[in-house]
């Protein structure tokens, strides 16, 4: 039985040999770095790091066994990429950042190269081929991880926007046919659109007849904001409901006067409770204090 001369070995074979000969050492280095990055930050347990390290080495060997040329569509490469995608998702969910993970992947690549240096039988051309192969593999993995990170960020931003959307328009049916909409902060075009969309849909769904819009939480008002408010009140009217504007603070009232904003056709009340009384009056609802 003859063994091929070291110079005749393929790039993949050199790497497989390297892994087989130094598996204990490489595995220990990878685990050590894993503990340093993920263990100290409590992102992964010791067992998880060890499992991940072993699985990674196994998948690399399986991939290298497919040949010298990297086939990006192969199931083996797909498995390695999937491994890193899941790994990335898991540690990202636990609060890791992208930098740490990318550095870890680069470290994995460097471990192979460091061990390659010790092999005197590998010539320059082979080293170059190995470097290119590893570069292709790890660059694709880093790109995958980057995409996972971006997708996760996008999902987080969307979830936060939805949450903000819900909390910024707390429309409540406070009585049959009476909706209250407290506005807090500033009303810009985007927010007005959002609030109006929600409010008009709620009017239709709840068959609301009166909407009390409370602006106690609006700190400042300019011509644009007042214009948005008037539009909102007009839209409520078009839906067949009546709007009562409450909580106009003296400074806001002064600003509206300075801006020549005419709220003459808008029903206003000083406070939310006065607004509710007005809504009840319109619905012919009487609230009496109970005996005792």
């Amino acid at each position: 039985m003859t063994t091929p001369a070291p110079t005749q070995r393929t790039t993949s074979q050199i790497l497989i040999d390297l892994l087989m000969l130094n598996v204990g050492k490489i595995s220990a280095i990878i685990e050590q770095q894993g503990h340093k990055i993920f263990g100290q930050a409590n992102l992964l347990s010791k067992e998880e790091i060890n499992d991940y390290s072993l699985e990674f080495l196994e998948l690399v060997v399986i991939l290298l066994q497919t040949g010298t040329q990297l086939d990006r569509r192969s199931a083996e490469f797909g498995a390695l990429r999937k491994f890193f995608t899941s790994f990335s998702q898991q540690i990202q969910a636990r609060g890791s950042n992208l930098d740490e993970f990318v550095r870890y992947i680069q470290f994995l690549q460097r471990v192979f190269l460091d061990n390659l240096e010790a092999d005197a039988t590998v010539d320059f051309a082979q080293s170059r081929a190995i470097l290119l192969l590893l570069g292709s593999i790890f660059n694709d993995i880093i790109l995958d991880v980057f995409h996972v990170y971006l997708e996760e960020k996008e999902r987080t931003i969307q979830a936060q926007q939805e949450e903000l959307r819900q909390t910024s328009t707390p429309i409540t049916e406070i009585w049959d046919g009476v909706l209250t909409l407290p506005i807090i902060g500033t009303l810009d075009s985007t927010r007005t659109m959002m609030v109006m969309e929600n409010l008009l849909s709620r009017i239709e769904a709840e068959r609301a007849r009166v909407v009390v819009i409370d602006v106690t939480g609006v700190m400042a008002i300019d011509s644009q904001v007042s214009h948005h408010l008037i539009q909102m009140i007009r839209a409520v009217g078009l839906m067949g409901a009546e709007a009562v504007l409450t909580g106009i603070r003296p400074e806001i009232a002064r600003s509206l006067t300075s801006l020549n904003i005419d709220l003459g056709k808008v029903t206003t009340r000083a406070t939310l409770s006065e607004g509710l009384k007005e809504a009840f009056r319109r619905l012919k609802v009487e609230v009496h204090q109970g005996k005792g």
């Binding site: 008009l200 609301a208 007849r209 909102m232 839209a235 009217g237 839906m239 067949g240 012919k284």
Partner: protein, 127 residues
């Protein structure tokens, strides 16, 4: 029978108008005279314009509505717009400068309540 418009007397001196797909708001002359003729024949005092099937009220459509409202007012008929879709209300509120010249109601029942109030101002419009 007016093409593009479905008219139904619903009692209490009211007629319900439901626009169909064939209605062309750019040509009000084709509708206004026969419409008024019908309303007068029915001795209607109120016209409930049901906008349930109108997804968007643009300038042309709004102009058609205001023209019809003017015609009704001249003839002593009150027009009430009803069932304006949320998106249509939203878009229209941004197009028009002031409140529309006709009253609006959430649905036909609300319109009828409103009409009762208009017919007898001293009583409550919503009861």
């Amino acid at each position: 029978m007016i093409p593009g418009i479905h008219l139904t007397p619903i009692g209490e001196d009211s007629v319900l108008l439901e626009p169909g797909e064939g209605l062309d708001p750019t040509d009000p002359d084709a509708y206004l005279v026969p419409l008024l003729g019908y309303l007068q024949k029915q001795r209607a005092r109120f016209l409930i314009y049901d906008l349930k099937s109108v997804a968007l009220i643009d300038n042309v459509y709004y102009e058609w509505m205001t023209t019809m409202n003017s015609l009704c007012m001249i003839s002593g008929i009150t027009m009430v717009a009803t069932n304006i879709r949320p998106y249509a209300a939203f878009a229209l509120s941004q197009q028009i400068a002031g409140n529309p010249p006709f009253p609006c109601a959430l649905n036909v029942d609300s319109a009828r309540r409103k009409i009762r109030g208009l017919a007898a101002p001293e009583s409550d419009p919503d009861t």
